[in-house]
């Protein structure tokens, strides 16, 4: 589904990623773990085209998409979900949702998709015509995820879906995502600081440290590896 080879990226003089390889299996959840500043968000930004890499290639759905802009990648089936702060505060909940599916130019889907999302995330339905700035943290997170699903992606890049949320809320969101993967064959690349949460739902995981990949294995094996847990995951 997604293959990243030798990715190196910087913000000005600061190197954020160094020679990172990543393989994402179709229909699975792959977690990217690591401390703050390990390069997790940068990796997502490079994959989705927001940041140009210095070196390396990104292959998605069988083609080289390195340096393609995000608006083109969306049309190939990739959706990058920024942190919950990525709601457009000035727009209503419904406008945020519609925006996610607009590029498909399919009115029937806009209607069907919106009601589908309201079923999937009931708290959003009650606030459909409220401006997104009035939502709670959990509702914002639901909105950014639902908005990306409106584009009917094959690959979802998720940035810290549990950031700043009550454990119960983030557990709900994660469970919803797991269901989506199982039912629709959606592939997810999940960036998380909370390693315990991520490893409990993920099939595979990699660990980044200071911009380099230090571990790459099945999630349950990483979760069981004391050395990795102590050294990188703080659990």
């Amino acid at each position: 589904m997604l293959d990243v080879v030798g990715l190196t990226a910087s913000y000005g003089p600061v190197r954020a990623l160094e020679d990172v390889d990543l393989h994402v299996e179709q229909g699975a959840i792959t977690a990217v773990l690591g401390a703050n500043g390990a390069g997790k968000t940068t990796l997502l930004r490079v994959i989705s085209g927001l940041l140009r890499p210095q070196q390396g290639t990104v292959r998605f759905a069988g083609r080289d998409v390195t340096r393609r802009p995000p608006e083109a990648l969306v049309r190939l089936g990739m959706a990058h979900v920024p942190e919950g702060r990525g709601v457009i505060a000035e727009l209503t909940v419904e406008e945020n949702l519609r925006l996610g599916g607009l590029w498909r130019r399919d009115r029937a889907w806009l209607r069907a998709g919106t009601s589908q999302m309201f079923e999937l995330f009931p708290p959003l339905a009650a606030r459909r015509s409220k401006r997104a700035e009035l939502l709670s943290g959990g509702e914002r997170q639901m909105l950014v995820i639902a908005r990306s699903l409106m584009s009917r992606p094959q690959l979802l890049l998720l940035d810290e879906p549990s950031l700043g949320l009550a454990p119960l809320v983030s557990a709900q969101i994660i469970a919803t995502l797991r269901e989506l993967c199982n039912e629709t064959g959606l592939t997810i690349l999940l960036v998380e600081q909370n390693a315990a949460t991520a490893l409990s739902v993920a099939d595979f995981a990699i660990v980044l440290n200071l911009g380099r990949k230090v571990e790459d294995d099945r999630a349950e094996r990483l979760a069981a590896d004391d050395r990795v847990r102590h050294a990188y995951l703080g659990m």
């Binding site: 989705s48 927001l50 802009p69 995000p70 608006e71 969306v74 049309r75 959706a79 990058h80 920024p82 702060r85 990525g86 457009i88 505060a89 000035e90 727009l91 406008e95 519609r98 925006l99 996610g100 607009l102 590029w103 908005r147 990306s148 584009s151």
Partner: protein
């Protein structure tokens, strides 16, 4: 009382023009965080284009259409060719570019048309409503000005609120990076925003031309008042531009009628200062620091 009614009506007419100019500035500020000082030059050139159409025997309406279309094109070209390359530099670069465009356009107009003010015909009669004994300071042409500005505002509001292109444009203005992740072609939306703004500006130019005449510098005052109206409204808010324009038009009309027309520029300055002191972000602007 009669005098008050007269001044109010005159204020509404000029307020409509200020509102249109303010809207042209607000649309661009909202989309690109640039104060477009070239707006005065752009609407001057498009009015000259309309004037040329009339000189060659075209009707008022043909001239109006040609002026607006050339405004749309000019706005898009300025954004694509001149603003785009400096968009990611410091905000000051873009402002300097807009100043450059203003000077360039004024120079160009001076070379082609000379500095003598030319008269521009109104769409309708400029003789006030009423009879020979009593005429209001409000003529059919003033009614046309007010109606067309209100109409254009209503259409723009509908486009922004109710259509998918409007939704894209708002998303591109509020959160360009997120909009790109959702497949919005932000660059195109910015070009479209500049085009629309310049089109509204071109309309304002043609509407105000019968009173200011047409010359390279004839619209400087209009731009200053339009800018004042935009700041009163908060620079960020299209409804604010309308309210700012209307209130400035009224205030200046009263100043002119009761205190003397020499005091009008000073009056604009006082209104601006008071608004900035009481509400620095304008009547409709979000207080600074709200954005997160």
């Amino acid at each position: 009382m009669e005098r008050f009614i007269d001044l109010t009506l005159a204020g509404v007419t000029s307020g409509a023009i200020y509102a249109a100019v303010a809207l042209a500035l607000v649309l661009i500020w909202r989309a690109t965080r640039i104060v477009n000082f070239a707006q005065g030059g752009m609407l001057m050139i498009t009015t000259f284009i309309g004037y040329t159409v009339i000189q060659h025997g075209g009707s008022y309406w043909l001239a109006l259409a040609v002026a607006i279309v050339s405004g749309l094109v000019l706005g898009a070209v300025v954004e694509r060719v001149l603003i785009r390359p400096v968009e990611n530099r410091s905000p000051l670069s873009a402002v300097v570019v807009t100043f450059g465009v203003l000077v360039l356009l004024q120079g160009l107009a001076g070379m082609i048309f000379g500095g003598t003010p030319r008269s521009y015909p109104p769409a309708f009669s400029i003789i006030g409503f009423g009879n020979a004994n009593h005429r209001l300071l409000f003529a059919p042409n003033d009614l046309w000005v007010v109606l067309v500005v209100v109409g254009v505002m209503a259409v723009l509001a509908l486009v922004f609120r109710r259509t998918s292109i409007g939704l894209r444009m708002r998303a591109a203005a509020f959160a360009p990076e997120v909009a790109r992740l959702l497949g919005v072609r932000v660059g195109r939306m910015l070009t479209l925003g500049w085009a629309l703004a310049a089109g509204v500006g071109a309309l304002a130019g043609v509407l105000v031309a019968p009173t200011t005449f047409v010359s390279p510098t004839a619209f400087d005052a209009t731009l200053v008042y339009g800018f004042t109206a935009a700041v009163i409204g908060g620079l960020d808010s299209p409804p604010g531009a309308v309210v700012g324009g209307a209130s400035l038009g009224l205030a200046l009309s009263y100043v002119s009628g009761y205190l003397g027309s020499d005091l009008v520029p000073l009056g604009a300055l006082v209104v601006l200062m008071v608004v900035l002191m009481v509400r620095p972000s304008g009547l409709f602007g979000a207080p600074a620091g709200r954005r997160v």
